[in-house]
Amino acid sequence: MKKDQKLMAAEKQFQLWLAAAAVMHAFILFLLLYLQMWGSAGHVKPKIVSVSLVSLPGSGGAGMHSESPGENSPPAAAEPAVKKPLPEKLPPVARKPVPVEPVKPVVVDKPVDINKALALLKQKVAQKTPPVAQPTSGSTLNKALADLQQKVKSNGRPGGTGSGEGRTGSFGSRSSGGKGSGTGGTADPYKAAITDIILQNWAFSKQLLKNSYGMNVYVRINILPDGTIRQIVFDKRAPSEYLNNSVKKALEKSSPLPALPKEAASRDVWIGFKFTPEGIE
């Protein structure tokens, strides 16, 4: 009887320790969770800059705006009320042409998008125009729209170079103006779209490279009218096989690409890319 009591007392004590151990484990798990939450709160995430490769058609042809005053500027008194010239609304993206590109890129004209953009532009200008009618604001708007249409037309030519008049504006007595020119082909929306697709399929980590010196891959692809990549040619390989393979896999994975635009759908096209650890140039 005494032994049973002792045994029960021992069991009871053991159960007590069992409960204590369970509480201790729960506490440790909670502590771990808390530490991780605390650690993650203190961790500063790097800023992510999202850059869209698709720009408004024709922006490549837009001139590089010069802010230098007095150059080819009309008289300042002519447009006293204009605060912001309209061409500034256009994204100032002007990409370099791919050096190994054997065929000039095909420019696709999208009149529907341009009309939409123009309508949007008109709306915005109408909203921003002050309620009191300025004598020269209407003419400025018309001039800006005319400029924009001219640029769009000039970009519509395949592979043509666009040229843009420098914007003119006046702020008080100061006048500014400039000239600019760019290659219309780089704003090719089809190329931008396929670049985006290839980038999405490109599984590559820069940190896995020991050094990034000379890590450039020049590659050109032959695209059939239906968008299938027929051939991949490496014009220049990088010293790292990891980079080369990742590029090859990305291109293979991206096939089939969207079908070629109607203007170029009659034949296959060659498009070149330069892959660097930072991305596609």
Binding site: A10, Q13, F14, W17, L18, A20, A21, A22, M24, H25, L32, L33, Q36, M37, G39, S40, A203, S205, L208
Partner: protein
């Protein structure tokens, strides 16, 4: 709450059923191990201290009646318990029978109590050895299973990028870490308790004949 930002817990929320089962098993092993460690540590420590104190008293007085009275104070000690069982047998014999027979009977009672005491001391300790031996393997099983699933998923997604491989392997390795976390304290405690039990057992074997001799040669 447990989203992917929260490290281990974020990974666990995406873990498979087998890995979760393995982790639960290891958690329960760890809880039971720590309960045994705490329970046995107190028990063995008390037993050693009381046995030592009783032995000192016994060799001081060398009187079985006084020693028996004093042994009531050392209820948790192994040696006092053995002494008490021998004393009870000795008193049960009274004055009847010859010395050889009395010695044999007392020795048998003492031996029985020594065995019982040894069992009592070593209860639950083998569980620590089991945890120490099996927990790493159980954890390894969870890891192997997790990596297996991870590779299967890599095959399905057809992507071998680090982003696709690393989370699965990281999740799987938690099982090995948990197995080691359960096994290491269990092995340390097992070795310590085995040593302590061996000390007490040696004392019991050495001093049991002394007790028998004390009962027979009582003045």
């Amino acid at each position: 709450m447990l989203d992917s930002k929260l490290g281990i817990f974020g990974l666990l929320s995406d873990a498979g059923a087998v890995v979760l089962m393995v982790l639960s098993l290891l958690l329960s092993f760890s809880i039971i191990s720590w309960a045994i460690i705490a329970f046995k540590f107190g028990y063995l420590r008390k037993s050693l201290q009381e046995s030592k104190a009783f032995l000192d008293y016994f060799f001081d007085v060398y009187n079985v009646d006084k020693a028996f009275t004093e042994s009531e104070r050392f209820r948790n000690g192994s040696l006092p318990r053995v002494f008490r069982s021998g004393y009870i047998e000795y008193r049960a014999l009274g004055n009847k029978g010859d010395v050889t027979q009395a010695r044999a009977r007392i020795a048998r009672a003492v031996k029985r109590e020594v065995n019982a005491e040894y069992k009592r001391l070593s209860t639950l300790v083998p569980f620590l050895a089991t945890v120490g031996n099996t927990a790493p393997f159980i954890g390894l099983f969870g890891t192997v299973w997790g990596i297996m699933n991870s590779f299967h998923n890599i095959g399905l997604t057809q992507s071998a990028s680090l982003a696709a491989v690393a989370p699965g392997i990281s999740e799987a390795l938690i099982a090995t870490a948990a197995g080691l976390a359960a096994a290491i304290p269990a092995v340390i405690a097992y070795n310590y308790f085995t040593q302590q039990i061996n000390i007490i057992e040696r004392d019991l074997e050495e001093f049991s004949p002394e007790f028998v001799a004390a009962f027979i040669n009582e003045p």
